[in-house]
């Protein structure tokens, strides 16, 4: 069981809580202790909007243990509107409709079971094609 490892990351995983650097105002995800932009200390939490665009994407046909039941699935590099890029699965998508540059938005979904179906469910961010609010 890997409960502590997942549990301590719940804020990042469930709702993209990163940081904003108090020195240079860079938005940082995932949170770290030193701002990658200016080298200053970073410790102020910042919740990302969840909006971004696809930098690149591909499909996984042979998944690692824990993911092999959900293949094929799409993984992508998503550039968030606030700056950082994250690696994340795309969900609710059809492979044929994917394009580099397409706008996406964060949703919280099941990532995997910790171990088998007896283990805790690991939830976290994924992205889907953006559904515009009128």
């Amino acid at each position: 069981m890997e409960i502590p490892r997942h549990w301590r990351l719940k804020q990042q995983r469930y709702r993209l809580v990163g940081e904003v650097c108090q020195h240079c105002e860079s938005k940082i995800f995932p949170p770290r202790d030193i701002c990658p932009e200016c080298g200053g200390e970073a410790d102020t939490l910042y919740t990302f909007s969840g909006n971004g665009e696809v930098y690149s994407y591909t499909t996984v046909h042979e998944g690692p243990a824990g993911y092999d039941d959900s293949t094929p699935y799409t993984v992508a590099l998503v550039k968030l509107d606030e700056g950082p890029t994250v690696t994340a699965q795309l969900t609710d998508v059809d492979e044929d409709s994917l394009q580099i540059g397409m706008p996406v938005e964060m949703v919280t979904r099941k990532l995997k079971n910790d171990g088998d179906e007896r283990g805790m469910i690991v939830y976290g961010y994924k992205f889907r094609p953006r559904m515009a609010v009128a």
């Binding site: 099941k110 939830y123 009128a134």
Partner: protein, 358 residues
């Protein structure tokens, strides 16, 4: 049995309360009823609905509740920290033990100063949580509480239930009437021990009493709840613009509406079973959300839920001027209905874990 005077039967909070925000979630996949009939009935069966919403492999009651809750928060325009309760009603909580509500509370940023709990009363667990929220806010114990009804409904393959058992969720933020997009004037619940439908511990699929689910269960409870409340309020069906009933299929709510004197026009915007199926705890309140999406200030709405076992919660709701400021702040029911990807039975069987892997 103690007999109450009509007016004392009503549940009315000391402080006026209302709906501060609402939001829904409906998954994108649709399984046409005809496809189920193809597999289980040689293509020939009376179809209770057109199609039902099916969750994806990475979706469950927790993920659907989170999205519905986020939509509700966007409409309420309050901070998650102001919520003093996150209550989730469902009969398909992902864990048998471990709350859905704590994950939802964490995901929307409502922790740690909050109540959290999972509710179960078949298909009316969500409205039960709304009544509790009314009491919580109406007593001034808290300013805001969130009640969610969400289900990934189970139906045994080939069973009549399979045609309709669907997935979806709706979240309601109950708060003081001053900041509400609709006030809840009163509610009334009608409850008896009626075993029309159940799922025993550790059983994968529910059992139901077939035609017994009709007269003694659904109709008795929905109409009793609706008529008792209307009588106590001194109103009739004509006083309402809209009415929503729990929707186990397309027929039941239409008949219940008729029995209470409502016209087809009054229930049309909230009648979604034909296109999304029956998402159990979310059924009636997704219907209410669809009505709120199109409602105008001063519209009066009757909501009647139904939970097997059995009981109905009735609500008398009046839309306020605020509605127009909030309708567009989050995705609407129709947005989710329009996001539609049809699947076949084999894909559905895989997505719903109906294929034995070990």
């Amino acid at each position: 049995m103690t007999t109450l005077k009509p007016s004392t039967k009503l549940l009315k909070p000391a402080r006026s309360v209302g709906i501060t925000g609402y939001g829904v979630y409906i998954p994108r996949y649709r399984l046409p009823a005809q496809e189920i009939a193809r597999v289980w009935a040689g293509g020939k069966a009376a179809l209770p609905i057109k199609e039902k919403a099916v969750p994806g492999l990475d979706e469950d009651v927790i993920t659907m509740s989170i999205e519905a809750a986020r939509n509700a928060l966007a409409r309420a325009d309050i901070h998650a920290h102001q919520l003093r309760a996150i209550w989730v009603g469902s009969e398909s909580h992902p864990y048998a033990v471990k709350p859905t509500s704590t994950v939802v509370a964490e995901a929307i940023g409502a922790v740690p100063n909050t109540q959290a709990g999972d509710w179960e009363f078949a298909c009316k667990a969500g409205t039960e949580a709304i009544v509790a929220s009314m009491g919580f806010v109406g007593s001034s114990m808290a300013d805001y509480a969130m009640a969610i009804g969400s289900d990934t409904a189970q139906g045994r393959p080939g069973d009549a239930l399979e045609y309709t058992a669907a997935a979806g969720g709706a979240a309601f933020i109950i708060g003081p009437a001053e900041n509400a997009l609709a006030t809840i004037n009163a509610s009334y619940s009608y409850v008896t021990d009626t075993p029309d439908f159940w799922r025993r511990e550790n059983q994968k699929y529910p059992e139901h009493g077939s035609r017994f689910t009709g007269e003694p269960a659904y109709f008795k409870h929905t109409t009793s709840a609706g008529s008792t409340m209307m009588e106590a309020l001194g109103v009739t069906a004509k006083d309402y613009q809209w009415a929503i009933f729990h929707q186990p299929n397309a027929k039941f709510p239409q008949r219940a509406a008729k029995m209470l004197g409502f016209t087809p026009e009054q229930i049309e915007p909230g009648l979604l079973a034909p296109v999304i199926g029956n998402p159990y705890s979310a059924s009636a309140i997704i219907g209410l959300s669809a009505v709120l999406d199109i409602a105008k200030p001063d519209d009066r709405i009757l909501l009647v839920s139904f939970g097997s076992g059995a009981g109905s919660d009735a609500f008398d709701i009046t839309v306020t001027k605020e509605i127009t400021n909030r309708q567009d702040k989050a995705l609407k029911v129709q947005d989710y209905i329009d996001r539609r990807t049809e699947i076949d039975y084999a894909t559905y069987a895989r997505m719903r874990g109906k294929i034995t892997m070990k």
